[in-house]
Structure formats: C-alpha cells, structure tokens
C-alpha cells in the first residue's frame, strides 16, 4: 500500500485538482439550470404544442438519446465551429474580458461553450422525458376536473397537472443532475480542464496515480452524494401534508 501511495501530492498539484473540481461544479450547475429550463420547455411544447410540437420534441429527444454524448460533444466542438460564420468563430476563440471595476468577467473559452451546449442539450432531453413520465403519472381525472371547473387546457396544464407532475418527476430529475455531474467528465476529450482532465494531468506529471485518481474520485463521490441528499431533502419538504406518496 505504501509504495502505491508514496509521498503526499505537492500543494501545487492539489490546487490543480481543486481547480478542476471547481470547473466541474460550475459547469454542472450551469448545465443543470439550463437543462432544466430546456427540458421543461420541451416537455410543455410536447403537451400543448399540437402535432408539430409533439413531433419536434420527439425528434430532438430521439436524436439525443440514441447517440453517444461523446459524439455530440465532437459535433459541438468541431462541426459547429466549421458551420458558424468565420467572423463568429474567430470572435469566440479570442479571449474577451469585461472589466467591472471590482473584478473582471471572462468570456468562456470555446471548448467551455461547446461543452456547455452539448451537455445542456443532452440533459434537457432526459429531463424532458422524466417530466413527461411525471405528467403521465398524474391521473387523467385531475385534468378533467380542472376543465370541468372552467379552466382552459393551458391553465389546467399550468396550474393543476404541472405542479403535481413536477413533484412526481423531481427525484428522477435529481438523478439526471447526478448524471450531469458525471457526464461533465467527457468534456476532457475536447480539452476542458475539469476534474478528470486535471487528475490525468497530475498523474502524468507526478506518477502518483493512486492519489491523483483517488482524490478526484472522492471529490466526484462527494459531489454526487451531496446533490442526491439535497434533492431528497427538498422532496421531503415539498411533500404536501397528509399525502401518502
């Protein structure tokens, strides 16, 4: 065991790992927020957007779910760059800083944007499906009762079906947040310096494989466990009094 672990990692390398972890957390949070918005919008379009809306969302979800995330990231990183007008690509690849007096805001690098877009579209499709399953889980009688009370179909969906469906879909959606944290590791393939990328860099520089991968693994497990527990705590708090679910 001793020869496996060896000396402790130098602070410099620990800092690399923590920096990578910070990128992983920030990217995950941004993707979860945007992916939830996208997923709920797609799910709503499917429910109230008529035949065209239903087809468009089904096509989007089918495309995302039947191809590997890695290939989707390559499409965003390589193909989107080739398809965009040259001026835009050049602007996106150049660094941009917004000085705010108290601090500077950096426009994200191209691989960060590509990773964010790919992961958000991916998470959005899965969240749309979880939300749809939640809607299907709300009994049809609920909608019928709302319509009988004089609500329009959109009002019935917005005020009666959606709140109940979200309660049903919440834990599966949290499951997608956990997947998102893990999925950010794939962005290392397009050069985003997140936790997996950092762990491999530290490993290459120090040959302290056990520590580099061990610390990264602990950080992933910690983040996943924390989000899972927070999600469950929220589910418990939002449960209406007297409900059996």
């Amino acid at each position: 065991m001793d020869q496996l672990v060896g000396d402790l990692l130098a602070p410099r390398y620990l800092a690399w790992l923590l920096q990578g972890f910070g990128v992983t957390l920030a990217l995950s949070a941004a993707v979860c927020l945007a992916g939830t918005a996208l997923g709920l919008a797609a799910c709503s379009l499917r429910e109230v957007g008529g035949e065209a809306g239903r087809r468009a969302v089904a096509g989007y979800v089918g495309l995302v779910r039947n191809t590997p995330l890695l290939v989707q990231l390559f499409v965003w990183y390589f193909a989107a760059a080739a398809l965009l007008p040259r001026a835009i690509t050049v602007w996106l690849n150049a660094p941009h800083v917004l000085n705010l007096g108290v601090g500077a805001l950096y426009w994200p690098a191209y691989e960060t944007l590509a990773g964010f877009c790919g992961l958000t579209l991916y998470a959005g499709a899965y969240i749309a499906e979880e939300a749809r399953a939640g809607i299907n889980g709300v009994r049809a009688a609920q909608r019928g009762a709302a319509l009988a009370l004089g609500l329009t179909p959109v009002q019935a969906f917005r005020h009666i079906v959606l709140p109940q469906a979200l309660r049903l879909a919440w834990l599966p959606i949290v499951g997608q947040y956990l997947n998102t944290i893990k999925n950010t590791s794939l962005t290392m393939t397009i050069g985003l310096a997140e936790l997996s990328y950092a762990s491999r860099q530290v490993e290459t520089e120090t040959f302290k494989t056990f520590q580099a991968f061990g610390i990264a693994t602990l950080l992933y497990v910690g983040a996943v466990a924390a989000v899972e527990m927070a999600g469950q705590a929220l589910a418990r708090r939002s449960r209406p009094a007297g409900s059996r679910r």
Binding site: P68, L69, L70, V71, F74, V75, F78, A79, S185
Partner: protein, 230 residues
C-alpha cells in the same frame, strides 16, 4: 456536404486497420458492446440476486459498493482499471479488456437494481408456495421466482445494453480505436469535414441503438404477460 470523406474512409471507419492491423472502427464497437453486454448481464444477475437474497451487513456492504460504482464517472473508472488491472493481475491487460471490465462493472451495478426489483416484484405468495411444496430457498428462486422475474427485468436489460453501446465510445480516452476514436482520427486527418464525419458516426450509433430497441420490443410483443404486483 461532401460525402467523399465518408466513402474514402469507409473501410477504416467500419473495421479500422484490419486485416493489415488490429480490428477497429464499427467492428470493434460491436465487439466491445457484445462482450460488455454479456459480462454485465451475468454480473447484474449475480449482484442483483445478492441484493435480493442477502440481509444485514452483507447487503449494506454490497449496496455501498454498487453505489460507488454508480457515483463515479465511467471515464474515472476506466482510468482506475487501466492503472490497477496490471497491478492486480501482474501482467499487462490489453486496453480492450480494461474497457470491457469498466463497462461491465458499471452496467452490472445498474442492472443489479433492476434484477433485485424484478425479484421483489414477484409476489410473496410465489415464494411461500414454492417453500410449501418442499423446495429449498434456492430451487424456489431458480424454478419459480426467477422465470417470472426475468420478464419484468427485460426492459431494464435492453435499456442498459443501449446505454452500453453508447458508452463504448468512452474507450476513446485510453486510445482504443473504436468507432468514435477512428472518426476523430479521420477528422484530424481531413481537417475540414467535421460535420459530415460526426453526423455519419452519430447516425451509425443511432441505427445500432434504435434497432436494438426495435428488436427488443418485437421479441417482447408475442408473449407479453401482465406482471402482477403483490
């Protein structure tokens, strides 16, 4: 759109350097999917039975292990096995073996919960009937509970296999020349046709996943049985 970049490299995308070199491309993706599909099914059954049949400390230890496998990104698991397998076995393990081991462990961990749920979905009455007829615990499981449970588990196996086909692309991170890796190679060589290459590769994966799904629902239809929940 220029399709010549696809047609010119079609052989390389489909079988890699084979027959002059190691097999790669789509063929290797299929080999990786098949092997890890098989091993993950066996692992999933064993671990799922373990979850359903064990209790107390054994079950808790098993649950922690499975939880860990599901909490770690597959990329990290591939890195770990790439480093640990040669140390554990004292010999060099081919990259393909590393990938199959990682995908099988993750697939098995996810499947085990489906297997355990399938076993639990078979009514308690079936267990009691088996035991009352003089069967032991294991024969009851083998001849009475499992045949019924497998039907309830079938969808989770198909879902997991579809996920496995997509996850074989992660072999990219240790340079295994499967479909995604050779596509990236072709892209680096051609430089100017990324859209054509990656849309083509995406379509190939899509056809694989959709046909596995279609095959499964066709197989499931003729003998669709209502699963009675206890």
């Amino acid at each position: 759109m220029t399709l010549s970049v696809i047609t010119d490299n079609l052989g390389y995308l489909l079988v890699g350097a084979w027959p002059d070199g190691p097999i790669g491309g789509l063929a290797l993706t299929l080999i990786l999917s098949g092997l890890s599909g098989l091993v993950s099914a066996v692992l999933g059954l064993i671990l799922g039975l373990g979850l359903a049949m064990s209790a107390g400390a054994t079950r808790a230890a098993l649950a922690v292990g499975l939880g860990l496998l599901r909490a770690v990104p597959i990329v990290m698991l591939i890195f770990w096995l790439y480093f640990l397998l040669p140390i554990l076995f004292g010999l060099s393990v081919p990259e393909i073996g590393t990938v199959v081991a990682a995908l099988s462990l993750v697939g098995g961990a996810y499947l085990s919960y489906g297997v355990a749920a399938g076993i639990e979905s078979v009514g308690r009455g079936q267990w009691e009937a088996g035991l009352a007829l003089g069967f032991g615990r294991w024969p009851t499981l083998r001849f009475i509970v499992l045949p019924q449970a497998l039907r309830a588990m079938a969808p989770s196996f198909v879902n997991q296999w579809t996920a496995l086909i997509k996850d074989t692309s992660l072999a990219y991170v240790i340079g295994v020349p499967e479909l995604s890796f050779v596509a990236a190679q072709v892209n680096n060589r051609a430089m100017i046709y990324p859209t054509e290459i990656f849309l083509f590769v995406g379509a190939v994966y899509g056809i694989l996943c959709v046909s596995l799904d279609g095959l499964a629902s066709r197989l499931a239809r003729p003998r669709s049985v209502t699963v009675h929940r206890a």
